[in-house]
């Protein structure tokens, strides 16, 4: 098992290296580049040359990359052009907030999606299946920004129960405050994805219910409840683990709209701001960190998968 995890980690090295080349090169391939941002539009040739030398841009390209990579591996992405503060410091402020929101949204989407899937799969084609399916379509169809605004209008402006602007309150310091701040963005994000989860899991359960081993279990005289929980769910959840992992990673790094609506201090909003300000070191840092989160979550998913499915060998 440990050998399997180590091997999987080793396999990640080329993936991350390739991605780092792309991230580093993408920024330098864009016309203008960081020099233009620093010196402004009316700079003289000397000024440009000076800034280039200062940034090390006059060195051979592979030297620049290796230098950047060596620092990046140690968590040093340089300083933000805009705020002059170290990129890693800015990211470190935002990352816990993003993790907290991602986990909360995942909890919401599972809490809504899984029961909906199980109930509709147990009575396929019935009125309850059809109404839950309509509910899923609604959850998927309502744009997140609009749902977010509606929630703010109702719970924050009308009822004044929850804050309209969500700030990051660490859960272990103040659980109640954290929940108050997370409730609206987590519901906004989670509800949408619960529609995807419910559809996917329902299809998976329905197809497993048609398997021969279910007929065998019935022939043994097992109670339906035990067939569903002991036999069907064990199989139906296997492919489901993968999409839950993907969506968690997506919540952490890609909740752009939700973070914007609730002015939530997450990493996605940091990245968007960096892009609009052409703050190259910050862009690079954010993308690398989000990428690492993605890759790491997927690794955890694979390990869980191998643990849950005995047919996969730790080789």
């Amino acid at each position: 098992m440990i050998g399997y995890i180590l091997r999987r980690l080793v396999q990640l090295v080329p993936v991350l290296l390739l991605a780092s080349v792309a991230i580093w090169g993408m920024v330098y391939a864009v016309p203008g580049g960081p020099v233009g941002v620093i010196v402004g539009e009316n700079a003289s040739v000397e000024q440009i040359a000076a800034v280039r030398a200062q940034l090390g841009l006059d060195r051979p390209i592979h030297v620049q990359y290796l230098d950047w990579l060596l620092r990046a591996v140690q968590g040093d992405f340089g300083a933000s052009i805009h705020s002059r503060r170290p990129v890693m410091e800015l990211i470190e402020q935002r990352l816990p907030a993003s993790f907290q929101l991602g986990l909360a949204a995942t909890v919401v989407s599972l809490a809504v999606g899984v029961p909906v899937a199980i109930i509709s799969a147990m009575y396929p084609g019935s009125w309850i299946d059809r109404s839950l399916s309509a509910w899923n379509a609604l959850a998927l169809g309502v744009p997140t920004f609009w749902l977010g605004i509606l929630l703010i209008l109702f719970f924050a402006v009308q009822l004044r129960w929850l804050p309209a602007i969500s700030t990051h309150v660490p859960f272990w310091e103040n659980p109640f405050g954290a929940l108050r701040n997370l409730a609206l963005p987590a519901v906004t994000l989670g509800l949408y994805v619960s529609g995807i989860f419910a559809r996917f899991l329902r299809a998976s359960i329905v197809s497993e219910l048609g398997s021969d081993y279910v007929r065998t279990a019935r022939a043994k005289g097992l109670p339906e409840r035990q067939i569903l929980l002991g036999h069907v769910m064990r199989n139906a959840l296997l492919p489901f683990i993968t999409i839950v992992g993907l969506s968690l990673a997506n919540f952490i790094g890609g909740a752009v709209v939700t973070e914007a609506v609730f002015t939530y201090p997450g990493i996605a909003r940091l990245l968007i701001n960096a892009i609009s300000q052409r703050d190259y070191p910050l862009i690079q840092g954010c993308i690398v960190v989000i990428l690492v989160v993605y890759v790491f979550v997927n690794l955890v998913v694979d390990i869980l998968y191998a643990y849950a499915d005995p047919r996969i060998e730790y080789r």
Binding site: R7, K220, G221, A308, R311, R315
Partner: protein
């Protein structure tokens, strides 16, 4: 006789679909007594499985069941779900067809065997592991404690079916329902499993309802037989009487249409037409459109006959036929083959010499080659025009890979393949395409080998269009001729594959293969997925086409009876190698290799009278992993003649003195010679 364990009276089952309800079972009566094996035989759609599921309340809610079913003293029809559930765990055990899908892949086998008993409160959770091991021991699985903790994928196919039998026996049920329990298994494993089932029944005194399409299996194990057609029992009786003197024309026709191991080639007597679909049954007797006796008898088309006793009362036979007394005895199996064609003189069409196909096994991380699966490891064969050469063997022996290598569909590792004298190994794409025009492939599964979104006319025309020959071959007129050649009407041109039955789809597959006027056709299990009566039609069609067009056939199959029916020469494969090759008659009448002998003796023969007298060689173990074949002769761990020499030295493939055969065995010879009698232990997989 004691009271029946299962008693069914007037059983009727309708399936409510989107339209009007479809009657699937139309009045079935049957009794099964303790210690008895009742076989229900029938073709697909005859209602044999539905009968068994209805008798135990396992049908889906869309089914409407009427009639009276008494199982172990309890009335099943109309019983509340909770009563049915208890009954299933305690009175009935089930064995289903495919042991691979019957078991849950993510739960340990031992838990699956005992969980039913635990759920019924008849076994304490703490005692379950010990009981699981005990049950696995009873079905002769080595190391039962260790095996109980393993998962289904760690078991071989035969072991899985043993585990399913253990599961069915866990509650010591009075009745076991086995639905095609050996259909998914290889013939040597089938013999082991049937043996085991019979032994366990004798030990427990259970009654067995065995559902099968295979009359050989019926003759092998049944005490009584019920033949089903169109949702009814059309004939029932003790197995000996029913096979010796069938009273229903359908039973007679089934027996006559069966290719048999103990008869030589020639034409089969197929039943014309298709088995009827439930919901579209002919009026009157549902068999009358296909029946020999019905011609010129309006009563057959008007009035449905009742199941009534026929013949001597003591015989206990009953048939649902107005004219059962006139039903002739089945014709004795033909023993005269057509004169061997002049094929032997013709120049070789296909020559395979020392063919090897090895697939690399790669490590997960760095993709380094860690070893090879020797799928084909030295196969030599010659096919001449107008000749059928068959490759037989159990699953995983490499027969399909050989066929695919000939077509250039898998890379060849070594050896040579010559088509009309010219080597086709390593040809470039374009050159290979030119050769492929002259050799075509017919696939096993007619259900998935036709593109479902193309009308059948285009399916058949596609190879012509690919080769740019559609117009020069005569366009639609030529396609119409092909349709007629395979017995289909050109009026079906615009239809889609899903509108055709299995047999018709296979005819379309054959028409597609013939479109380019090939000289060699590779037939990969062309009848394995078809019903017995349809199988005979297709085999006859293939033989007719061969005679008309002078085709050479490379026929790949696992069914030894079918192979005997159609072949001029036969090669038997085991673990990638041909172990024996000869002309068909010699191979079946004087097999020299112990593997051929055990294969032939494992095939169930539809002749119940002889089942006790046949000396049967039941092989132990199963085919080893081709990635790690045993040293020396690869068959030695399962061989009854194996000696130290066999463990050390691989035998050469050479002519056997006195026979027109080539054999790879140190101790080749007719059955009963050179046997060291001692059986080796079961090969631990």
């Amino acid at each position: 006789m004691s009271a029946p364990v299962l008693s069914v009276r007037g059983l009727e089952v309708d399936f409510a679909g989107s339209g009007r309800p479809v009657p699937v079972i139309r009045g079935v009566d049957l009794d099964v007594h303790p210690n008895e094996i009742l076989c229900i035989v029938g073709e697909s759609g005859s209602g044999k499985s539905v009968t068994a599921l209805a008798a135990t309340g396992l049908l889906p809610p869309t089914a409407r069941v009427r009639g009276r079913v008494v199982l172990d003293g309890t009335d099943v029809t109309g019983a509340p779900p909770e009563v049915l559930r208890r009954l299933r765990g305690e009175a009935v055990g089930f064995i289903f067809q495919d042991p691979t899908t019957t078991l849950n892949p993510v739960l340990p086998v031992g838990r699956q065997i005992t969980e039913g008993q635990v759920a019924h409160g008849r076994l304490r959770q703490a005692d379950a592991p010990a009981r699981a091991a005990e049950l696995l021991g009873e079905v002769e699985i080595a190391d039962p404690e260790g095996r109980a903790r393993q998962y289904p994928h760690q078991f071989s196919g035969g072991m899985r079916q043993r585990a399913v039998i253990a599961m069915a026996m866990a509650g010591r049920p009075r009745l076991i329902i086995a639905d095609e329990p050996t259909t998914a298994l290889d013939v040597t494993v089938q013999a082991q499993v049937l043996d085991l089932l019979r032994r366990r029944q004798a030990e427990t005194g259970a009654a067995i309802v065995l559902i099968t399409h295979d009359l050989g299996v019926v003759a092998e194990v049944a005490d009584r037989v019920a033949v089903m057609y169109g949702g009814r029992i059309v004939e029932t009786g003790p197995v000996d009487a029913l096979f010796a003197r069938p009273r229903h024309p359908y039973t007679t026709a089934l027996l006559e249409s069966l290719p048999r191991l103990d008869t030589r080639g020639g034409r089969l007597d197929p039943i014309p037409g298709q088995p009827p679909l439930p919901g579209a049954l002919p009026a009157g007797c549902s068999f009358h459109p296909r029946c020999r006796l019905a011609a010129g008898r309006p009563r057959c088309a008007a009035e449905e006959p009742a199941l009534r006793p026929v013949g001597a009362a003591a015989a206990g036979q009953a048939a649902a036929c107005h004219f059962a007394e006139e039903n002739p005895r089945p014709k004795p199996p033909a023993t005269v083959a057509e004169a061997a064609a002049s094929a032997a003189a013709a120049a070789p069409l296909l020559q395979i010499e020392g063919l090897k196909v090895h697939f690399p096994l790669r490590s997960r991380v760095l993709r380094l080659t860690r070893g090879h699966v020797r799928a084909v490891d030295g196969v030599s064969l010659t096919v001449r025009a107008g000749e059928t050469v068959s490759l037989v063997g159990e699953s995983g022996c490499g027969k399909t890979t050989t066929g695919r290598a000939v077509m250039g569909l898998v890379p060849v590792t070594g050896g040579d393949i010559r088509f009309e004298g010219r080597s086709v190994v390593g040809l470039r794409r374009l050159a290979m395409r030119g050769v492929r025009r002259h050799m075509q492939y017919v696939f096993q599964d007619p259900f998935s080998s036709l593109n479902p979104v193309l009308p059948v006319e285009d399916v058949v025309a596609e190879p012509l269009r690919i080769h740019g020959l559609y117009d020069s071959f005569g366009g639609a007129r030529y396609i119409a001729r092909l349709f007629e050649m395979v017995g289909l009407s050109p009026t079906m041109f615009g239809r889609y594959p899903r509108e055709f039955s299995g047999g018709q789809k296979q005819r379309i597959g054959i028409a597609r293969a013939l479109a380019l006027k090939p000289r060699l056709v590779i037939l990969d299990e062309p009848v394995a997925a078809l019903d017995v009566s349809i199988q005979a039609q297709i085999l006859n069609l293939l033989q007719d086409l061969q005679r008309e067009l002078g085709l050479g056939y490379l026929f790949i199959a696992h069914n030894l009876s079918v192979v005997r029916q159609i072949s001029d020469r036969v090669a038997v494969m085991y673990l990638g190698r041909v172990v024996e090759e000869s002309d068909s008659d010699t191979l079946y009448e004087a097999p020299a290799h112990p593997y051929t002998q055990s294969l032939l003796s494992a095939v169930p023969v539809p002749e119940p009278a002889g089942r006790t007298g046949r000396g049967r060689i039941v092989l132990t173990g199963e085919i080893p992993n081709p990635a790690a074949p045993p040293g020396g002769c690869t068959f030695h761990p399962r061989c009854f003649r194996a000696t130290d020499r066999c463990r050390a030295e691989a035998p050469a493939f050479r002519p056997h003195p006195g026979l027109p055969s080539r054999v790879a065995c140190h101790h080749a010879g007719p059955p009963g010679t050179g046997a060291s009698a001692e059986r080796t232990e079961e090969a631990a997989p």
